[in-house]
């Protein structure tokens, strides 16, 4: 095992990795930009190296600054966390060139899976289902209409040259196919000057279900079931859970096998996630490969909760060359849900917020886990992703997990910046969510109404009563005495240096 590693990240994921290292007796080296000199991950690590100014391009995204820091500090390995350089094949290769172990997949596997279209081709060759689609060689209107019938209804007709949904036409019944083909052709020619059309099966109101996989260097590659991540706001995951209400044991086995096959096709090692779209059809559930994320996911704790594992420990063991003694096909225990808590203002279109956490108290209790990169008195900086914390709850079943999540959110006060906590509560209190009747479009359809109802809420009598007492007390106590304790205000200092 390593004796010292560098963590090339910040915030909650850096803190989470530092804690795992501490348990394994591995020394940790944090890196920080000027904006993070006193951040929690820097306070917790055994050592810390400055890597540049606040701008991420010149610090957390600077491969050379991070590799220099790893060399200076004598680290043997680099854990990239998620985001930043985690899925950068060039960075993974540069670590190898500097004799540093990259805690993640081999660089060539990252590269192979980096392009969505190349990844789909790669896995389709191994019979992993992808969304059926084709570019008909015969581009006549009639041939495209025939292709629509071949791909299956409902179908999407898209300009081959297109992007961003421009010129897409939906075919729900075969009688309209030829009209839609002609309309799509006109749009494609007008928008892109190229009338070539592509036909794809339309997956209606799909669920986003992903499979956690992990492989060692000795050829073992296993899956750890699914996470349902259908609750997304503008393609950003908001609430994730495991298991999925839409996945039974047989489907889990099928999707798991497909995920393992996809990962093997790419020569994968270490932890990764295979994302699928899942749809309910008259013939039962169908799933399609979407893409593979070559890193530890934000939502990994829900898998850890129901499978009783520590994925970061496993990543480190695998990276150090140890064999993995896990096997596929385990049954998840109970139910876990994660809610992502962001500094953002739902009332202003979820505009990211920055500022001090004047009051920040994490909820406690059985089955409650909070992964955060902040403590009371810290500030949310304007430079980075505004994720404050992840709240993960676990209980015997989904119904009890929802009760626990609701109670935990209600006792997670974060004051000083606007957060999405009231919005998350409104989502969790929704009947459709309680019944599990969700898909990837659900939250975008609900958000306007949820935000509106929140905006209309007045402070409760209890809130008003407490506020008036607090105001009275604040006016009695001089401002200067309302400071944090000296241990947290002193900042970074070291004995004997």
């Amino acid at each position: 095992m390593f004796h010292r590693i560098l963590i090339a990240n910040r915030g909650e994921i850096a803190v989470r990795i530092i804690r795992a290292c501490r348990e394994l007796g591995i020394e940790t080296v944090a890196v920080y930009s000027d904006a993070d000199a006193r951040a929690m991950h820097v306070r917790l690590a055994d050592r810390a190296e400055r890597i540049g100014p606040a701008a991420a391009q010149e610090s957390y995204l600077s491969a050379s600054a991070i590799i220099d820091a790893a060399r200076r500090s004598g680290a043997q390995a680099v854990h990239p966390g998620y985001g930043f350089l985690a899925e950068n094949a060039g960075f993974a290769a540069a670590c190898g060139d500097a004799s540093l172990v990259f805690v993640g997949p081999p660089p060539d596997a990252i590269a192979r899976l980096g392009s969505k279209t190349a990844a789909r081709r790669l896995v389709a060759e191994r019979a992993v289902p992808v969304v059926p689609g084709e570019v008909p060689a015969d581009q006549s209107d009639e041939a495209i209409a025939a292709s629509v019938a071949h791909v299956g209804l409902p179908a999407l007709i898209k300009p081959s040259a297109g992007g961003g949904g421009i010129g897409m036409r939906t075919v729900l019944g075969s009688e309209s196919a030829i009209d839609q083909v002609r309309a799509a052709r006109r749009d494609a020619l007008a928008a892109f000057g190229d009338g070539t059309l592509y036909v794809e099966h339309l997956v209606e109101r799909p669920r986003h279900v992903e499979i956690q996989i992990i492989g060692d260097r000795h050829g073992r590659l296993v899956h750890l079931g699914e996470r349902e991540c259908s609750l997304q706001r503008r393609h950003q995951k908001v609430i994730e859970e495991s298991p999925s209400v839409a996945v039974n044991e047989a489907l889990r086995a099928d999707m798991g096998e497909a995920a393992v096959t996809a990962a093997q096709a790419a020569g994968y090692q270490n932890a990764g996630t295979v994302e699928f779209l899942l749809e309910q059809t008259a013939h039962g559930p169908r799933f399609y490969f979407l893409e593979m994320n070559t890193r530890l996911q934000v939502e990994h704790p829900v898998t850890e909760a129901v499978y009783g594992v520590d994925l970061v420990h496993a990543q480190l063991r695998v990276a150090a060359g140890e064999p993995l003694d896990w096997h596929s096909g385990r049954t998840p225990r109970g139910h876990a849900i994660e809610a992502r808590i962001y500094a953002e203002d739902p009332a202003q279109g979820f505009l990211p917020q920055a500022g001090p956490l004047r009051l920040y108290r994490e909820p406690r209790g059985p089955g409650i886990r909070v992964d955060s990169g902040f403590e009371e008195g810290d500030a949310i900086a304007v430079h980075y992703d505004p994720l404050i914390a992840k709240l993960i709850v676990q209980a015997e079943d989904r119904e009890r997990a929802i009760l626990r999540l609701r109670a935990a959110l209600a006792s997670f006060p974060i004051l000083g910046v606007r957060t999405n906590v009231p919005y998350l509560l409104a989502v969790v209190e929704d009947d459709s969510f309680a019944r599990g009747e969700i898909d990837t479009t659900w939250l975008d359809r609900q958000t306007a109404a949820l935000v509106e109802s929140l905006a209309a809420e007045q402070p409760s009598p209890a809130a008003r009563a407490a506020a008036s007492h607090a105001l009275e007390r604040a006016q009695r106590v001089p401002h200067a005495t309302r400071t944090a304790d000296p241990w947290t205000t002193l900042g970074a200092w070291r004995l004997g240096s």
């Binding site: 900086a381 006060p413 974060i414 910046v417 606007r418 509560l425 209890a462 009563a465 407490a466 604040a474």
Partner: protein, 128 residues
């Protein structure tokens, strides 16, 4: 309706109304009071803020539209400005943002300095 309020910790209150107890958290900042009760969060402008906004009628103040870092302060108290002049530049979410004078006038107060992290809605410069 009678509310019984007991302080049970720093910023934590036990409020009992008609026999029903609720835990409420509060935090004061320079312009008001944050309150969290049963998962709902409200921001209440305090009395001082109300007084200050009254004395400012007839003049303009410029505030940040979102939390931001002050990049440059281009005016000082007493300076004459014309409508459209940039008075402060801010940086937020990797974007630079110019705050411009809404009318001709004189700078009567500057409430920010370079490098400072400022909150949305807090006046940075006053023009009369």
């Amino acid at each position: 309706m009678k509310a019984d309020v007991a302080a049970i910790g720093p910023g934590v209150w036990r409020v009992t109304i008609d026999g029903k107890a609720t835990t409420v958290w509060t935090a004061v900042d320079d312009a008001g009071m944050w309150v969290h009760a049963d998962g709902r969060v409200h921001y209440l402008a305090n009395e001082a803020d109300v007084r200050r906004s009254r004395t400012r009628s007839g003049s303009h103040d410029l505030s940040a539209p979102m939390p931001a870092t002050v990049r440059a302060v281009l005016v000082e108290v007493g300076a004459q400005v014309h409508a459209g002049d940039t008075v402060v530049t801010l940086e937020a979410m990797k974007m630079e943002l110019a705050l411009r004078a809404p009318s001709d006038g004189t700078i009567t107060a500057v409430h920010c300095q370079v490098g400072e992290l400022v909150q949305a809605g807090v006046p940075l410069v006053e023009i009369a």
